[in-house]
Every structure is written in structure tokens, then in C-alpha cells.
């Protein structure tokens, strides 16, 4: 397929892998930030082509995985209300809250609908004037423009029955939080290509300089990822720590300016709790004062709450790259995609789910599954 098959070419992949082998002289830890990249790495077996002592650490870039339990519980509470149509992206539906998940709320009578775009939720609000339509706005900078557009359109149309439960997060503050941790083992980053397609990568040079880490903006196909790894290793081996762009077919330095304008028009930067990691300053987007009427948490008078994660779930350590999924004692035992303890086992982009689905036969993972 055009624009797809050429980035999955087996021979070209092996060439890139050989080049990485050729230039690698010592162990390196490289984090791919985005869950989409994690999924591709495990699905295509990209890490099997790499030298043994290059470790890919799977980062916190799965929006489903980092949405805090408190907000999922709020979503469950809103979705169960009889007057509400609760609209969400598909992969949020199975994420466990403290007691249940959205699919179970639906089975219990809640009107939960899967949508493909926040604008579909605006349309639902127009079609159902007697109901309150609430959209679950989660995701990184990639989905933020569409979420912003939905709020903007709802305001233009004067919709009073539309609101959003928002848990948008931002990548650069998360990289900063990871790098400033004393336990951080990451020596280089593959930055998330689609996030950069929206935001550009002007935020990254200060991070690369401050922590002396190479950051390569990378795409999602096997050849993209292998080339991204090659570029990071080239920098590491030569002692450089620069920002480079592998994903030039989609990403420009300044990003998508109209999308950024829209984000700024609707949102402001707020502190945000990340599931498994904790609160990171300036790492989220919330509605600004002009659009506060569309804030579902405010509209439904939901109290702020603190909920404890199941103690068995070590997804926080997985998300920070401190352990690999199968090093969690619950992995494959008490925690499976059918009965997930934490969000990283739910989403197809979660590191635990990816290991469970694709890696059960590899010896170090196999010992952990029934």
C-alpha cells in the first residue's frame, strides 16, 4: 500500500538494523515516548532486530494509560446518570476505574456511545437537545486540536447540553519529569511524531541541552522507528545531544500553527496528575475561563477526589521505564487484558497489553503467564 508498505520493507529494515549493529559500541537505553511506537515495536518485533544491549524503554505516551483513576471514576459517575449520553473514544471504554468500567456502565443501562471524533459528540448534542451529551476528552497534543474544535463549535452553536470531561496531557513536561528523576536510566528519546506534527519541536532543544540527551522526532512505521533508533545511537556514540527530525514527511519545526492557535483559544495549561506517575506541573490542558461552561466536572458538581491504585499494579514503574511489563508480579497472573488491574494492560498501546499479546512465547516473558 502506498505510504505504508514502503515503510515496512523487510530488506530495508534489516539494512537499518545492520547499520545500528555496526555503529553500536556499548549499551544504550532509549525511550520511545509514544504508545503507538511501543505497539509497533512489539507488533513487528523491531527490538528483535536490534543489538542485545540496546534497550528500548517504553514511555508514558499512551493516553489511555495515563488518565488518572480519579477522572475515570468521574467519567463512570457521569455516564451512569440517566439524562446523560456519554461519548468516548473506543479504547477508553474498557479502562478499569476503582470499581467498574464504561462498558459495564453501558451494560447496566448507561447510555455510553463510542465516537471516532469529538465533533461526533457535538453532533449527538445537536440531535438530542433533551439529553446532556458529555465527551471524554483525553489524549496528548495529537487529539487536542479536535477536542478544542469541538468546544469551539459547541460555543458557536450555543449548545447548552454539551460538555467535556477533560484530561488532556502534554509530552514535553513529562519528558522533563522523567529526566529529572534520580532513577532515570534514559539516555536518548524517540519523540512522538504525531505530537510534533501538531506542536512542532521547538520545545525540545532546551530539554536536550539541559539533560544532555539526544531527542529524535520519530514516526510509527518499522522503518521510521529503526531510523530513529539509528539517529539516536549515532548521536550517543559521538557524544552529541541534539534534536533531530526523522519524521520529515509529517513534521515541521514550527508544527501546525492554526491547530496550535485553536488549542490556545480554548485551553490553558494546568497541572495534571498522570496515572502511575503522579502530578506533573504544567503538564495538562484544561478549559480556559471563556469556555468554563463546557467543563463537565463543574457542570455536574463533581467533587475532587483521591483514589488509591490497586497496590499490586506496578504500572507506574512501567510507565516510567523502571521495569519491563513482565517484571511486575501480577503480569499474566492476576492481571490480563480480560481482567486488567491497570490501564497499561487495557489499551492496545499500553506496554503491558503489548507484551501480553505479542510476547508470551519469549522465554523471559513466558515464565510469567499461565
Amino acid at each position: 500500500m502506498k505510504y505504508l508498505d514502503e515503510y515496512r520493507d523487510g530488506e530495508r529494515a534489516r539494512q537499518l538494523a545492520r547499520e545500528i549493529h555496526r555503529i553500536t559500541t556499548r549499551p544504550w537505553n532509549i525511550m520511545e515516548v509514544c504508545g503507538g511506537q511501543t505497539h509497533a515495536i512489539v507488533k513487528f518485533g523491531i527490538d528483535e532486530l536490534l543489538p542485545k544491549f540496546i534497550t528500548l524503554i517504553h514511555g508514558p505516551g499512551c493516553p489511555v494509560c495515563v488518565t488518572p483513576l480519579e477522572i475515570i471514576d468521574q467519567a463512570l459517575e457521569i455516564a451512569a446518570r440517566p439524562e446523560v449520553i456519554f461519548a468516548s473514544f473506543g479504547d477508553m471504554l474498557r479502562v478499569p476505574g476503582s470499581t467498574t468500567d464504561l462498558l459495564s456502565v453501558k451494560a447496566g443501562g448507561g447510555d455510553v456511545r463510542m465516537v471516532y471524533s469529538p465533533l461526533d459528540a457535538v453532533r449527538l448534542a445537536e440531535q438530542n437537545p433533551a439529553r446532556d451529551v458529555v465527551f471524554f476528552g483525553v489524549g496528548f497534543e495529537t487529539t487536542a486540536p479536535a477536542t478544542a474544535m469541538a468546544v469551539y463549535q459547541a460555543a458557536q452553536k450555543g449548545l447548552k447540553n454539551f460538555s467535556m470531561l477533560i484530561s488532556h496531557v502534554l509530552v514535553p513536561p513529562a519528558i522533563e519529569a522523567l529526566m529529572s528523576s534520580p532513577n532515570c536510566k534514559v539516555q536518548g528519546f524517540l519523540a512522538a511524531g504525531h505530537v510534533c506534527a501538531v506542536m512542532g519541536y521547538e520545545e525540545y532543544p532546551p530539554l536536550a541541552a539541559k539533560y544532555h540527551v539526544p531527542i529524535v522526532v520519530t514516526g510509527f512505521e518499522p522503518l521510521d522507528i529503526l531510523q530513529g533508533v539509528l539517529m539516536v545511537v549515532q548521536q550517543l556514540e559521538s557524544g552529541r545531544a541534539e534534536v533531530e527530525n526523522q519524521y520529515t514527511r509529517a513534521v515541521q519545526r514550527e508544527g501546525n500553527l492554526p491547530a496550535q492557535d485553536l488549542i490556545r483559544k480554548v485551553f490553558r495549561v494546568v497541572p495534571r496528575k498522570w496515572r502511575g506517575i503522579g502530578e506533573i506541573p504544567q503538564s495538562g490542558l484544561g478549559l480556559n475561563d471563556a469556555y468554563a461552561a463546557f467543563d463537565a466536572a463543574r457542570k455536574f458538581g463533581l467533587a475532587d477526589r483521591q483514589v488509591a491504585e490497586p497496590a499490586e499494579c506496578l504500572s507506574g514503574l512501567v510507565l516510567q521505564g523502571q521495569i519491563k511489563p513482565h517484571e511486575c508480579p501480577a503480569f499474566g497472573q492476576r492481571c490480563t487484558p480480560e481482567h486488567p488491574l491497570g490501564a497499561t494492560m487495557v489499551s492496545s498501546e499500553g506496554a503491558c497489553a503489548a507484551y501480553y499479546r505479542y510476547r508470551r512465547q519469549t522465554p523471559d516473558v513466558a515464565g510469567k503467564t499461565p
Binding site: M1, L4, R8, D9, G10, A13, R14, G36, V42, K43, F44, G45, I46, E48, L49, P63, V64, F89, G90, D91, M92, L93, R94, L103, S104, K106, A107, G108, M114, Y116, V138, G139, F140, T142, T143, H194, P222, P337, E338, H339, S347, S348, E349, Y356, R357, Y358, R359, R360, Q361
Partner: protein
């Protein structure tokens, strides 16, 4: 009379699926949750050797003849979709289940659950479509049932069909016959039915219209048998797609199945639509496709027979069966690395970004 407090009320048997107090849609998705439901609820309650074989159609012996018997319910929405409708699908699906034991389909029943308010014209179109499909498949619809439910209590129209066929060969077509070394074939490109339905249902517009692969395959199976192809196992690729089917067979046969990703036929438009939604075509449902396990010597001849038949679009040999201490399906990815091809958990859910 005072009511019994609910906590003091116990059923004779505990409900076997305690983790899920309600049925979820995923329990019908063809993945692991559905297998748990069937295993722990239905098999546990109805246990008998014929049911435990868990074949698409059960083979019963009757006065020295072997009959295949199967049933299936059709709840597809929308009722009419590109490439078919609920009526033709209700005939093809049940005929195909019979074909998966190598049977010649003979008779169908047809039970309708109609929602009050369904336009008569809609029902007539569906009935005509069933009539035409039955004619093409050489089966007769010989008994039926009609129920009407209150408006809002049904989704327009549900159909159940039950089928009987006769087995006129001596092969044991079942997972137990699968042997290490067997070749695995599919009779055509995968994932078209599921993506055609999803495109219409969700209002997704792709450049080209994806048409369902709904088609009867009984005649193709008959030709393969007549040509003397040493068929060991057949299974249709409906809910859960190729991934679920192969896992079921690996489990039942106690073997490893190794698939080559680049040999699996998926049309470009289906592949593109799946990529866009974050779905895997190997998990998407088909309605006119099946997996076939044959002795390796017959693989190429079987592929040619499939290719030359009207319903065999792009057949392919996609993998091999290997000996294994634990049942497993592996997929060699396009870049040459190997991984597990797992059964999906429930419904496939499109991703966020």
C-alpha cells in the same frame, strides 16, 4: 406475604462468571470473553460429547448416515449493507457452518423476531433476498417461526436459521485431524465484511466502497472434496476473524500454527481502513471466508481449485502447522520477526490516536 431478602436467596448453582455481573457486548465478540462464557456457562450446563466437540456444525449419525446440524442468529445492523443484507447472510452463514464439516446443505429453518413498526417493504426485501440466496445454495427453507416484539425492544429484525446437511465423505474434518506439517490456507482476502459494516454503521467514508465478502462456500468445499484434497479441518472466519479461528484450532488440536504475515491476503482498501482505525485485519470478521488445513502435498492444488472457483478471491497458503508442547499461533511479521498472534479479548475498539 413478606419478600425474601435478596441476600438470603440462593440459586441452586452459583453463577459461574462472577467477575461480570452483566453480559457485555464483548461476550459476543468472538474473543476470549465469549469463549469463557460458552465454556463456563453453556458447555458446563449442557455438557455432552457432541457439544464438546465445539464444531461449526455438529455431526450426528442417523440410521447409518451422517448428518450435520447447526444454528446461528443474525443481528447485523444495518440490515442492508454493501455486498449483502441480513437475509442473504442468514442463509450463507448457516450454509457455511454446514460446509465446515464437509456437508452438503439440504434444509434450513428460518425464525424471525420482528420489531413492531418495521416497514413491510423492508421485510419483503429481506425475505426475497433469503429466497434467492437459498436457491443459489441449493437449500430449501422448510420450517419457520415468527414473533413480533414491542417497538424499542428489538432492532428492526433478527433472524435465526438452523440447518441440516448430509455428509457424503469419509474424512474426519475436525481440529483433531490437524497434523504437524499441514498447510494452512484461506480462500480469499480477509476483513472485508467487518470493515464494510463498520464503514456504514459509523458513517466512515473511505475513497472506495468496501463490499462485504458474504458468500456461500459449500460448493467450493464440495469441489475440494471431490478433487480428493486431503482436508483435515475447516473453520469459517466469522467473529474474531482469522486470529480467533486459528487459536481455537491450535488449542483443540494441541499444535503450533505459524503464519507468514506477508502471505495473508488483505485488500488495500481494507488494510487502509484498518490502519486508520487502529484495527488488525486478522481480527476482523469475514462472512465468506474460511481457513482450511490440508496435507502439505495438496496445498498448491487446493489453492488452484479455490482460485478457479467463483467465491475464491485471492486464495493463499498462509502458514504451516508445527509440533508444540503448548498450543500457540505465531505470526512472522513483514520485517521478519516472530510474535504471538493472539485471540482478541472481546470487541475490537478503535484507538484514540
Amino acid at each position: 406475604m413478606s419478600q425474601v431478602p435478596i441476600e438470603n436467596f440462593a440459586l441452586a448453582c452459583p453463577v459461574p462468571l462472577a467477575q461480570y455481573p452483566h453480559v457485555l457486548l464483548a461476550h459476543g465478540g468472538g474473543g476470549k470473553l465469549m469463549h469463557q462464557l460458552i465454556g463456563k456457562m453453556f458447555l458446563a450446563a449442557f455438557r455432552n460429547p457432541l457439544l464438546e466437540a465445539q464444531l461449526d456444525s455438529t455431526v450426528v449419525e442417523w440410521t447409518g448416515r451422517k448428518l450435520a446440524f447447526t444454528t446461528d442468529s443474525y443481528v447485523v445492523r444495518p440490515i442492508f449493507f454493501p455486498g449483502g443484507d441480513i437475509g442473504s447472510m442468514a442463509v450463507h452463514g448457516t450454509v457455511n457452518d454446514l460446509a465446515m464439516s464437509g456437508a452438503r446443505p439440504l434444509y434450513l429453518s428460518s425464525a424471525f423476531i420482528l420489531e413492531e413498526g418495521l416497514p413491510m417493504e423492508t421485510l419483503w426485501r429481506v425475505v426475497c433476498s433469503m429466497r434467492d440466496a437459498a436457491q443459489r445454495c441449493g437449500v430449501q427453507i422448510i420450517t419457520g417461526d415468527t414473533k413480533v416484539v414491542d417497538k424499542g425492544k428489538g432492532d428492526g429484525l433478527f433472524i435465526n436459521t438452523t440447518g441440516i446437511g448430509i455428509i457424503e465423505h469419509d474424512r474426519m474434518i475436525a481440529p483433531q485431524s490437524v497434523r504437524p506439517g499441514d498447510a494452512v490456507l484461506v480462500n480469499g482476502d480477509l476483513g472485508r465484511h467487518g470493515m464494510a459494516i463498520m464503514a456504514v454503521r459509523e458513517g466512515l467514508e473511505f475513497e472506495s466502497r468496501i463490499e462485504s465478502d458474504s458468500a456461500p462456500v459449500a460448493d467450493l468445499v464440495r469441489q475440494l472434496l471431490q478433487a480428493g484434497i486431503e482436508i483435515h479441518c475447516l473453520r469459517d472466519l466469522t467473529r474474531g476473524g482469522l486470529a480467533s479461528t486459528l487459536n481455537e484450532i491450535a488449542e483443540a488440536a494441541g499444535v503450533r500454527i505459524d503464519i507468514e504475515e506477508k502471505s495473508v491476503p488483505v485488500r488495500e482498501d481494507v488494510h487502509a481502513a484498518c490502519e486508520m482505525l487502529g484495527l488488525d485485519p486478522l481480527h476482523v470478521a469475514c462472512e465468506g471466508r474460511f481457513a482450511m488445513f490440508v496435507a502439505a502435498k495438496d496445498a498448491e492444488r487446493a489453492r488452484q481449485i479455490m482460485r478457479d472457483h467463483a467465491v475464491g478471491a485471492e486464495p493463499a497458503v498462509i502458514g504451516r502447522v508445527a509440533e508444540s508442547s503448548m498450543p500457540l499461533v505465531t505470526l512472522k511479521s513483514v520485517i521478519g520477526a516472530s510474535r504471538i498472534l493472539d485471540m482478541s479479548s472481546g470487541e475490537q475498539l478503535p484507538r484514540i490516536c
